[in-house]
Amino acid sequence: MSDRSKLIATGKPFKFDKKRDTEFEQLVKRYPSRESMVLPALWLVQEQESWVCQEAIGYIADRIGTFASKVYEVATFYSMFNLHPVGKYHICVCRTLSCWLRGKQDIVNYFRDELNLTPGKATEDKKFSLEEVECLGHCGSAPVLQINGEFYENMDVDKVKKLLATFK
């Protein structure tokens, strides 16, 4: 497991944009306790910035009225929160059971050999970053990739090549 204990500061104050601000205020009404907003708020941060910086942790704590340590604890526990900047295209390859049985390793090897891209890293131009993730729940169409939230099913090296070429 990569180190998920360190937060990165940007040196700039964080704030929700207008869209996220509205969403936050709508969502908070759905819960009897403001603390329930920790995960939804972290998602709003990640949707806005593609990762969660140190300043955002403090901002969420202030908005909710809780301790920054509580938000920090949650952010580091859940592996989908990116605690460091990711590439323009963040590629998640499922590494578990059915995807493993149907050849996910060929795809991971392709990234390593052709793009010098290994799990946990990004390409130099920051265009692509790669992560091996646990079961994505698409076992019937394995192997599967998820790129910026979008699923790509029944993949093989050829399909990955063609797909990457479409990303500008």
Binding site: S36, M80, L97, H138, G140, Q146
Partner: protein, 431 residues
């Protein structure tokens, strides 16, 4: 010829079936009049009589779970719908979420009414991005149409449905970890008792049901308990969405009644083992279920009792087929890595023990282990199990133990001889 049943999957093949107008045209929300003119207790009785068992993996009778709610408490009751589907080999609920979200919403209305709840939270795994968008659109549509919201049905019943998004933690599929996560905390399971039905979300009575269990309700209410029982067998009534994956020709989700022979389903529905290869093993219900050898698989049927007789579990109905090329030691590494990664870190035997199992199994695969290592990893399986707050650790040790015991030759073939000093040490210990 084996035929698919169409209780849950009736609208899967219909274009735009996730849109309200299309879903309604094909029968969605037709149970509501009947529902709101029934007594709440009668709804629970119908579900009890239907024999419906929880479809998340444990198979606990749904109606009985509901009846554990304390009566006469002055506290709100919550419904939490478990859409955290994360067990490797399990991919059935996703189809309901994306192809027929209105079936789930209708089921939620039924469940809420039966247990006297006004607030339902759907806990959906963070990775299900497109599914969440479709589901949210369906909820918004249903809200606009007055099917959910402040005043529903002739009783002006209030039902609010909120999607709560997970963020990549398998453990949040465990019901109390799921509740912790909705409360804004790390997903670490709670000690039980108290059980969630008594003290769950926000310390209030809470029922947690799997997506597929909830989606089974509209058909049961519409057609009655007896009609539902006509599908399946006595101890496992109704139908199930079986997800077949791994080394088969036609992987996918198939809705079938309980009780069919496992191998017939693999061969007739999923086209059999791919590339004309031989079968090496079947994981019958998601990665935590102990593997069946081809001989065992030949006598197993798809229901709880048969799987228990074969010393494995029905689980979530996620069938994973392994062909003759699979290295069982490597499979053991792949699974242990998953469970170690997903350990919440609360209990030492799980947090540390699964890590050690992973290390030793990797050592075996690398050809650097000796018989002592193999015996140690087998011993760890027995020592970790049953010593933790939840069953995540057991979900790892059970399948690994089965792999070690049923395919031991394969592990032994990778071992190197005991170094001489260790042999002397061991014999000195014996003396």
């Amino acid at each position: 010829m084996m035929q698919e049943a169409k209780i849950l999957s009736a609208k899967f093949a219909i274009k735009n079936s996730n849109k309200l107008t299309v879903a309604k045209k094909h029968g969605a929300y037709q149970t509501l009049d009947k529902l709101f003119s029934s007594k709440q207790g009668d709804v629970i009785e119908i579900v009890k009589n239907s024999g419906l068992r929880g479809r998340g993996g444990a198979g606990f009778p749904t109606g009985m779970k509901w009846s554990f709610l304390p009566k006469g408490l002055d506290k709100p009751v919550y419904l939490a719908v478990n859409a955290d589907e994360s067990e490797p080999g399990t991919f059935k609920d996703r189809y309901i979420l994306a192809q027929d979200p209105h079936l789930l919403i209708e089921g939620i209305i039924i469940a809420c009414y039966a247990i006297n709840s006004h607030d339902a939270y759907i806990y959906i795994r963070g990775e299900y991005t497109t599914q969440r968008t479709i589901l949210q659109n369906a909820i918004d549509e249903a809200c606009k149409a007055g099917l959910i919201g402040e005043k529903v049905g002739k009783q002006n019943y209030r039902i609010n449905i909120t999607i709560h998004r997970g963020a990549g933690a398998y453990i949040c599929g465990e019901e109390t970890a799921l509740l912790e996560s909705i409360e804004g905390k790390k997903g670490q399971p709670r000690s039980k008792p108290p059980f969630p039905a008594v003290e769950g979300l926000y310390a209030c009575p809470t029922i947690i049901n799997n997506v597929q269990s909830i989606a089974s309700l509209p058909w049961i209410i519409q057609n009655g308990a007896m009609a539902y029982k006509r599908y399946g067998i006595e101890s496992a009534t109704g139908t199930h969405l079986f997800g077949i994956s791994g080394h088969v020709e036609k992987p996918g989700v198939y809705e079938l009644p309980f009780g069919l022979p496992l191998l017939d389903v693999i061969n007739e529905m999923a086209g059999g083992v791919w590339k004309g290869r031989k079968l090496k093993g079947v994981i019958p219900g998601g990665s935590s279920c102990p593997v069946l050898t081809p001989e065992e698989a030949a006598t197993a049927t798809l229901d709880y009792a048969s799987m228990a007789e074969h010393k494995t579990m029905f689980g979530s109905g996620g069938i994973v087929v392994l062909d003759e090329t699979v290295s069982m030691p490597e499979l053991a590494v792949n699974l242990t890595q998953f469970y170690h990664h997903e350990s919440c870190g609360q209990c030492t035997p799980c947090r540390e023990g699964l890590g050690w199992m992973e290390k030793i199994l990797k050592k075996i695969v690398a050809g650097e282990a000796t018989m002592r290592d193999l015996n140690l990893v087998r011993e760890l399986c027995d020592n970790i199990e049953g010593k933790t707050v939840c069953v995540l650790a057991a979900a790892c040790t059970m399948p690994i133990r089965a792999l070690l015991d049923k395919y031991r030759d394969e592990f032994e073939a990778l071992l190197k001889p005991e170094p001489t000093d260790a042999v002397t040490e061991a014999s000195a210990e014996q003396e």
